[in-house]
């Protein structure tokens, strides 16, 4: 567990160091020899309640986080894990710190949600401290806005040492002859633009791009079958009246531009 002390007041540096080592050791013991359920206390340090709803969704029978012995308790005095949501606002900073101090010492702090991790979408607000780790040492970060119940389960499993971390810091440096591939180079440029525009107009931006992409893949495909048949098969396979209408409209554009679909 990584320990970052940010706002824990220290009197003597050496004493604090030994205290920190002690806490780290105790934390390891907590994970190995706990022999009972993990008690979680939830702090909402200025969140929108989205995260809290997902935490409770993780407690429902569908995800049932209690089958791993993870229990939400109403008092920080019982807590082994402090689950902190919200962007850590100025008003909630002190109550959050009080709850942190009230929890008995080998404790794990989990920063939950985009706001808890970094401040999220509120990171540059005047009243926001920007993340749980600005006021207390955080052991596990669970990103998401909000994290889904499976992401919550994964985060707890990571905190309790049951699963391994998947996400690693990545760094890419451009290679000297790196070139970007043009998508669907065989579809004429003007047609490509017209198709994408129409699909995005009809289906909304993100889905429109996806639909235009799959349609142009059909056009691009090097196949013995005629394009019209491939499109018909695609429409039949997807079996979605909304998609059918959009694809018909895209076909009409192909015909009007002059490429025979």
């Amino acid at each position: 567990m990584s320990m970052q002390t940010v706002a824990v007041p220290t009197t003597a540096a050496a004493a604090a160091e030994s205290e920190r080592e002690q806490t780290a050791r105790l934390k390891k013991t907590l994970l190995q020899d706990i022999g009972r359920s993990i008690y979680v206390f939830r702090i909402d340090a200025g969140g929108c309640n989205g995260c809290d709803i997902e935490i409770f969704a993780a407690l429902t029978p569908v995800f049932d986080i209690e089958r791993f012995g993870i229990k939400v308790v109403p008092s920080p005095r019982h807590a082994d894990v402090i689950l902190c949501t919200g962007a850590m606002t100025r008003a909630m900073r002190r109550p959050a710190l009080r709850a942190y101090d009230a929890a008995p010492d080998p404790k794990i702090v989990i920063a939950y949600g985009a706001c808890g991790c970094t401040g999220g979408i509120f990171h540059d607000l005047y009243c926001v401290w920007g993340g749980v780790d600005k006021v207390m040492p955080v052991d596990v970060y669970i990103p998401g806005c909000p994290p889904t119940p499976p992401a919550t389960i994964y985060g707890f499993a990571l905190a309790l040492g049951m699963l391994d971390q998947k996400l690693k810091a990545g760094q890419h440096v451009e290679a000297p002859d790196e070139q970007v591939a043009i998508s669907h180079p065989h579809v004429p440029y003007t047609l490509r633009i017209a198709l994408e525009r129409e699909a995005r107009r009809m289906a909304g931006y993100r889905q429109g791009r996806e639909i235009a992409d799959s349609f142009m893949t059909l056009l691009d495909h090097d196949d013995a079958k005629p394009v019209a048949q491939r499109v018909a098969e695609f429409v039949a396979r997807e079996n979605d009246p909304r998609l059918t209408e959009i694809v018909r409209s895209l076909e009409a554009i192909c015909t009007s531009v002059g490429t025979n679909p």
């Binding site: 985009a114 889904t148 499976p150 810091a169 440029y189 791009r209």
Partner: protein, 184 residues
């Protein structure tokens, strides 16, 4: 009681087996943004679209590089980066297992080289972006020689373009397109 038990047996087990078995993501689920730096032209459209400033870009003019960075801890998974990306370099994947122990693992960066202006030698635009524009012109039907001639125009920074335009408008033959060797 009997009714309840009957209902419970009828419903059966609803709990997902998730940590022990992979969980299939729902269609249209927006998870971790999957970034392919090879496909990125560093145009910064995503960083402008990002409402949470999870995507950021910074230029280092002295080194001639542009650094793209994503912070998964700040991302709100809205998919706007995917919407605006012209080359599909960033796509939201169904991946949701993003919890980390160390905050540094939430960051992913990519470094791109900037092309220098032919006129004033200041780095101003990513090399890959200019290459992509030329490739797009060729793909749109422009003869290769013409596209390469346009490259000379593309590799001039906006400030120099403005300057040469003003000079040309003023009727002077100082520095300008004549010097670069391109007729705009």
């Amino acid at each position: 009681m009997y009714k309840l038990l009957k209902e419970a047996f009828r419903t059966g087990n609803v709990t997902v087996r998730y940590p022990f078995a992979p969980l299939p993501a729902a269609p249209n689920f927006r998870g971790k943004p999957h970034y392919e730096p090879e496909q990125c032209i560093a145009c910064a459209a995503c960083t402008i679209a990002c409402p949470a400033n999870a995507l950021t870009m910074s230029n280092d003019v002295a080194a001639g590089t542009r650094t793209w960075e994503i912070c998964f801890g700040r991302c709100v998974f809205c998919g706007r980066c995917e919407e605006v990306c012209p080359t599909q370099a960033i796509v939201l994947s169904p991946e949701f297992e993003m919890a980390v122990l160390d905050r540094a693992d939430l960051y992913q960066t990519a470094e791109f080289t900037l092309a220098s202006c032919r006129n004033c030698a200041t780095p101003f635009a990513p090399r890959k972006e200019i290459d992509y524009v030329v490739a797009l012109l060729v793909n749109a039907g422009l003869p290769e020689a013409d596209a390469e001639r346009r490259r000379a125009m593309l590799e001039v920074c906006p400030a120099c373009k403005r300057h040469s335009e003003v000079v040309r408008e003023a009727g002077s033959s100082g520095s300008g397109w004549h010097q670069i060797g391109v007729t705009p």
